[in-house]
Symmetry: C2
DNA sequence: CTGTTAGCGCATTCAG
DNA sequence: CTGAATGCGCTAACAG
C-alpha cells in the first residue's frame, strides 16, 4: 500500500493525496472527504524512508553509549528520550559495550543512516574519534565529558568538584586516613577526575596521599569487595573511611565491610558519588554526591536539537553541579578533634 | 557527496561505483583501484535511506519498552543489542514511560519507519494493541509476557513458578506467616502472576491467605518501605517472612526493617524475585529467584530475526526458568518444626 | 566488463 | 484547485 494505491482508490492524483495527508494546500471539501475515507479505510501511512530521502532529514538522533546497564546511563537516556520525543525525534541506539571498534563502526552507521545528530556518551576519547567525527559533518553533543578536544558542545558533570567536596566532607568530620576505591583512567571523568578530586581534597587538608590506600578496579560489584578487603588487610593503621567513585562500588564495599566484622559507619565510614534511588533505601543508607542525570539527558537533548536547527548551542559546555546527600554510612570519627 | 560525485571524480559510471562498493560484480583491477582511491580520499559512504527504500528493508528493529531505568529491562536490552548487532540489525528505541498512548503512537512510527521487526516489552495488553498490531503486518515478538492473545511469538519468564517456588521455600524453612509486597495488575506478569504464585504456594501448604498480609504498591523503592511498615504495624501476630515481587522492593523492605529495629533475617526473612548483581553484594545479601535476562534478550532477538527471515519461530513461546539463590536475608524460623 | 536506465515512495515545482 | 513531471540516492536489469 503506497500513495499511488491510495490515489487510485480515491480517483485522484498522488499530489492530492499528499496535500490531504500533510495538509499542505487547499483541497476541495468533497475530494478531501473522499480521500480521508480511503485513508482511514486502508489505514495507509506514508513511508518515512521516501520522505526522509527527499527532505534529507530523518528526525533521528544516534545515541551511543558504552553500557546500558548502569543506572546513571539509564537515567540519562530517560531524560534524553523524554525530551527528544517531545520534539518529534527518535532514538537510534548504539550500545558499544566499551569497545572502541564498535564506537567507530557505529559512527559510520549513524552517518549512513543519516541521523540528524549524535549524542555521544564518551569515556576515552582519542585521535581516532577526532578524525572520525571531523569527517562526519553531523552535529555531535558529548555527554559526560568535556567536548573541547573534539570541538563539540558538551554536557558534563562536575566530577572533580564532587569528589573533592565529598572527601573534604569526610575530612571535616574527622577522617584523615581515607581509602580510595576507583576505576581505571579508561573512563576519563570517572577514572581520572574523581581520583584527582580525591587527591586534591587531601592536599587541601595537608594530608599526604598514600598510594597504599588507593585501589583501582573496574565498575562491577566484585571490584568493591576486592578493594575493601585490600584496604582492610593493609599492614599498619587501617582507614577510618572509604571513598568509592561509584554507587555500585560503595554498595559492595559497604556490604563486604559489614559481612567481615567492620560495622558501617561505626568502624568505617563509606561514601561515594552518584545517587540512584537505591542508596537512600538500603541499609545503611549511603552518603553520596547526587547528580541529576535525567536533567543532564534533557539538556543534552535540547542542545543537540538546537545544534541541528542551526543554532550553535550556547554555552557550548554545561557543567552540572552536585549536591551532597549525607546519610547513614558516614559518621564523625570517634574521638577526633573536629 | 553522493554516488554521482564519486562517479564523476573517478571518471566512471555510478553502476561501477556501486559494484566496487558492494563487491557485487567483477570490475577490472585498474578501475577498481582508481575508484577505491577516490572512495578513501572522499570518505564517501552510501546513503542507507536510498538503499533501504529500494530494498524495502531497513535492518532496524523497533524496541518498545515501558521504562528503561529498571535493571531487568536494561539487562534484557543488553542481550538484545548484542545479538542484533552481531546479525547486522540496529535498534530504534521507544521508551514509552508506561503510557498506552505512547505505545500506540510508537507502533505507528515503527511502521512508518519501516522497521523490519518489533520487540515489544508488554505489560498490559488490550484490545487496542490487538487491533493496532494486526494492521501492522510487521513481525512482532513479545518480551516478558504471553503472546497468545496477540497471536505473536514470545519470550517469557516463569513468573508464576518462580513466585510459587520461592514462597514454598520460605514455608519449607518454617515460615507460615508470610507477608506479600506486590505491584498492581497493570503489569500482568509481575503484578498478577507473581501474586498468584504466592497464593498458590500458600494453598500448596494449606495456609489460608490473609488479605491483611498483602500490600500492593508500585515499582519504586518507597513502596517497599510503605509495605514493610504496614505489615509490621498490623495488629496480631506479625509476619516472620516477607516476599517481595521485585528486587527493588526487597531492598527497601529490608532497609526499612533494619532501620526500624527488625533484624533481617533474625527477626524477619526477606526474599524476592529478580537478581541484579546488587543483591549478592549488599548487606544482608538477598535471597531471590534469578532469571537470565541477558539470555531472554538474546533469545528474543534471535526469534525476531528468524521471523523476519520468513521462518515462523519454533517453539512460538519460550518460557525461561528460574534458579533460586539462597543468601543471607532468609533463615529458618527459630523453633519451627521443619 | 562497463554504462544507461528504470524505479523504490514521496513532496514539490510548474502548468493548466 | 488539481494533475503531470521531476528527482532525492541508490541497486539491478539490461545493453553494448
Amino acid at each position: 500500500m503506497n500513495i499511488k494505491d491510495v490515489a487510485r482508490l480515491s480517483g485522484v492524483s498522488i499530489s492530492t493525496i499528499s496535500r490531504v495527508i500533510n495538509n499542505s494546500a487547499y483541497v476541495s471539501p468533497e475530494i478531501k472527504e473522499r480521500v480521508e475515507k480511503v485513508l482511514t479505510e486502508t489505514g495507509y501511512r506514508p513511508n518515512s524512508l521516501a520522505k526522509e530521502l527527499l527532505r534529507n532529514k530523518t528526525d533521528t538522533i544516534g545515541v551511543m553509549l558504552p553500557r546500558i546497564d548502569l543506572s546513571t546511563f539509564a537515567q540519562t537516556i530517560d531524560g534524553i528520550s523524554s525530551t527528544l520525543t517531545e520534539s518529534g525525534y527518535n532514538i537510534l541506539l548504539a550500545n558499544t559495550r566499551d569497545s572502541q571498534e564498535e564506537e567507530l563502526r557505529y559512527l559510520t552507521l549513524f552517518y549512513e543512516k543519516r541521523v540528524d545528530g549524535i549524542l555521544y556518551f564518551a569515556t576515552d576519547i582519542n585521535e581516532r574519534h577526532l578524525q572520525a567525527l571531523s569527517k562526519l559533518r553531523i552535529p555531535v553533543v558529548i555527554v559526560g565529558q568535556s567536548g573541547s578536544y573534539l570541538n563539540c558542545p558538551a554536557v558534563r558533570l562536575d566530577n572533580f568538584g564532587a569528589a573533592r567536596a565529598m572527601v573534604n566532607y569526610l575530612v571535616s568530620i574527622g577522617h584523615r586516613r581515607i581509602g580510595f576505591i576507583g576505576v581505571s583512567d579508561h573512563d576519563h571523568d570517572i577514572g581520572t577526575l574523581r581520583r584527582e578530586g580525591y587527591l586534591a581534597a587531601l592536599r587541601d587538608n595537608g594530608i599526604p596521599a598514600d598510594p597504599e590506600l588507593m585501589w583501582i578496579g573496574d565498575f562491577e560489584y566484585p571490584s568493591g569487595e576486592r578493594g575493601a578487603r585490600r584496604l582492610m588487610e593493609l599492614p599498619g593503621e587501617r582507614p577510618t573511611a572509604v571513598f568509592c567513585v561509584t554507587d555500585r562500588l560503595s554498595i559492595s564495599t559497604s556490604g563486604w565491610l559489614n559481612r567481615n566484622g567492620y560495622r558501617v559507619p561505626e568502624d568505617v565510614s563509606v561514601a561515594c558519588i552518584d545517587d540512584p534511588g537505591l542508596l537512600s533505601f538500603c541499609h545503611p543508607s549511603v552518603t553520596t554526591m547526587s547528580f541529576d542525570y535525567m536533567a543532564a539527558g534533557s539538556l543534552a537533548a535540547k542542545m543537540i536539537i538546537e545544534y541541528i536547527e542551526g543554532r550553535v548551542p550556547e554555552p557550548s559546555e554545561i557543567l552540572l553541579p552536585y549536591t551532597i546527600q549525607i546519610r547513614d554510612s558516614t559518621k564523625p570519627l570517634e574521638g577526633a578533634i573536629i
